[in-house]
């Protein structure tokens, strides 16, 4: 029998108790496994749980600690989104086409966590190939929002967000191509950080849209986001886009002082379709930060309104190329056929789900002769304008605030038949990926139905430190993080 309540610890709380010797990693890991056993049949956050490996890793972490080693992640159970390769543990990307695939290597971020002594507790559910905003596009099952099991957790890192919210892990890794860490974090009432493009290696991250994809973290509080980012960031010989800029010690530099910090509020976010309670919560949060000493500025991002078409032209185009590799030859599912060409077509037609096929079709169309200039090239030019808006705004302010999502969590099945409506739930998070900058969602209240609301804090490229600082100042001035879903 495990010690009750240990699963609720944050990384920094667990780290302190492990270091003090009043809890072991094995006890902590068993508490998390027990929590998964009691809640995950309802929440369904995990595609794969790895109890034997996890306990073995916990035991090894306890031995490392006994021999004098330390570190903030040593012995801490972390969940990993199933788009990140884990050696010897099935990795599906939420797709039938990768059913049974067991990677022969670890993603760089997973390898780094293991080297730091973190315990990999399991693989979390995701929209197929990270394409979606609700985790309903998983080929296996839909994950439920721990705050209301009839609602979606958001997506595509919905499994990771739900696992963190349910205290069914200490923290989790996700990936964010257009909001897939921040949006589910907002809908599940946890912290979600998408680092700057190039801050974290993408090696071993199953590619969706390579110019937009970034590995991110989902945590119970802001301090944990700083710790976990520090654990995964940095250059990598296996990913030429992972920059060799030095990685600051985010956790050590973290302060809640926002005196004189210039915050901008994104005017374009306050549009029709924004849930009034979300709007009110964001403005209350802004006022709070001003009381704490921040300076308020208005900023305008005139091309923000074009982010949705630009994203949904560029991302599917890149996806259509990236997903060409799933052809039934080297890994995953194959449909037998007489000829090679019909084997490819049948394998892909059966192996991919509806949203993935829709995006491959869209991407193929916008890249095809006759449409390339009108759609794809046009979108790439508009991307330049969207990035220039942010460059100009960050001349005036240090961070930009706004809602993470237009509404709180929506019902399961509510948007699944209307792709455009589903795409709109990412409308505030897409432009940061297009600009390659960093953003974080931190809980900023609840609506009348008790569903969490997220405040988005956006910073310039490699501005993670100031984003974390503003989010921490806000978090410490409120007590939202003390609320837990009733599971």
């Amino acid at each position: 029998m495990s010690t009750p309540g240990l699963n609720r610890l944050t990384i920094h709380e667990a780290g302190r108790r492990l270091a003090a010797g009043d809890v072991t990693s094995v006890e902590l890991t068993e508490a998390v496994l027990d929590r998964i056993a009691t809640t995950d049949s309802a929440v369904r956050a995990y595609l794969t749980v790895t109890p034997e490996q996890a306990v073995a890793q916990a035991r090894a972490a306890d031995e490392r600690r006994a021999s004098g080693e330390g570190g903030p992640l040593l012995g801490v159970p972390i969940a990993v989104k199933d788009v990140l390769c884990t050696e010897g543990i099935p990795t599906t990307a939420g797709s039938r086409i990768l059913e049974g695939f067991v990677p022969p290597y670890d993603a760089t971020v997973v390898r780094r966590l293991k080297e730091d002594g973190a315990v990999i507790i399991g693989k979390t559910n995701t929209d197929e190939f990270a394409m979606g905003s609700s985790t309903e596009n998983s080929a296996y099952f839909a994950t439920r929002n721990p705050w209301d099991l009839g609602r979606v957790p958001g997506g595509s890192s919905g499994g990771s967000a739900a696992a963190v919210a349910a205290d069914a892990c200490v923290a989790a890794l996700g990936s964010d191509t257009g909001g897939s860490v921040r949006q589910p974090a907002a809908l599940c009432g946890v912290v979600g950080l998408k680092p700057t493009y190039g801050r974290v290696s993408r090696y071993g991250l199953i590619a969706f849209a390579s110019s937009l994809d970034q590995v991110g973290v989902l945590t119970k509080d802001v301090a944990d986001a700083a710790i976990l980012l520090g654990g995964i960031a940095g250059s990598d010989p296996c990913d030429g886009t992972a920059t060799d800029l030095p990685v600051p010690d985010y956790a050590a530099l973290l302060t809640a002082d926002v005196e004189g910090v210039r915050i901008g509020v994104m005017q374009e976010a306050f549009v029709k379709g924004l849930q009034p309670e979300v709007e009110a919560a964001v403005w209350t949060a802004v006022d709070r930060l001003v009381e704490l000493g921040a300076e308020l500025h208005e900023v305008s991002l005139p091309h923000a309104d074009y982010a949705l078409p630009v994203f949904y032209l560029i991302a599917p185009a890149e996806a259509s190329a990236n997903l060409a590799r799933y052809d039934g030859v080297r890994y995953g599912h194959r449909e037998e056929a007489e000829s090679l060409d019909s084997m490819y077509k049948r394998t892909r037609g059966r192996g991919f789900g509806p949203e993935v096929k829709r995006r491959i079709m869209l991407g193929t169309y916008v890249l095809s002769a006759g449409y390339y200039d009108a759609y794809y090239l046009k979108a790439q030019k508009a991307r330049t304008l969207i990035k220039a808006d942010f460059d100009a705004a960050f001349e005036e302010v240090d961070v930009i605030l706004g809602p993470t999502t237009p509404t709180t969590a929506f019902g399961i099945g509510e948007k699944i038949d209307d792709p455009l409506q589903m795409y709109l739930s990412d409308v505030f998070t897409l432009s940061m990926n297009l600009a390659g900058i960093c953003g974080l969602s931190v809980p900023c209240g609840f609506d009348e139905q008790g569903l969490p609301i997220g405040l988005q804090v956006t910073g310039p490229a490699f501005g993670e430190e100031r984003v974390l600082r503003v989010a921490l100042a806000y978090e410490q001035a409120c007590d939202w993080r003390l609320r837990r879903p009733d599971l």
Binding site: T241, R330, S339, L340, P354, M361, Y365, T384, G436
Partner: protein, 95 residues
Amino acid sequence: MKLDREEVGHMADLARLALSGRELSLYREQLSAILEHFQRLQELDTEDIPPTASVLPLRSVTRDDETRPPLRRERVLENAPDTEGGCFRVPAALE
């Protein structure tokens, strides 16, 4: 603007996707609606604006040309649906 049926079928061919008649007509509807919605982009003046393919400045990454052990062949082939003699096996590509 509505995509015609042949065009949608051609895209499926290019993407090597075997789609049912029902899927073809559903995607025809949905992709037409999505592209219609995205027409708004055409109002944006992008004359003289360079395209952005990646936000990072392009740079070459080099490393020393040293040999390293690759993944073991058996390990790589373990995930393949069909293998023969240490290779991936596929249906005949040539008649």
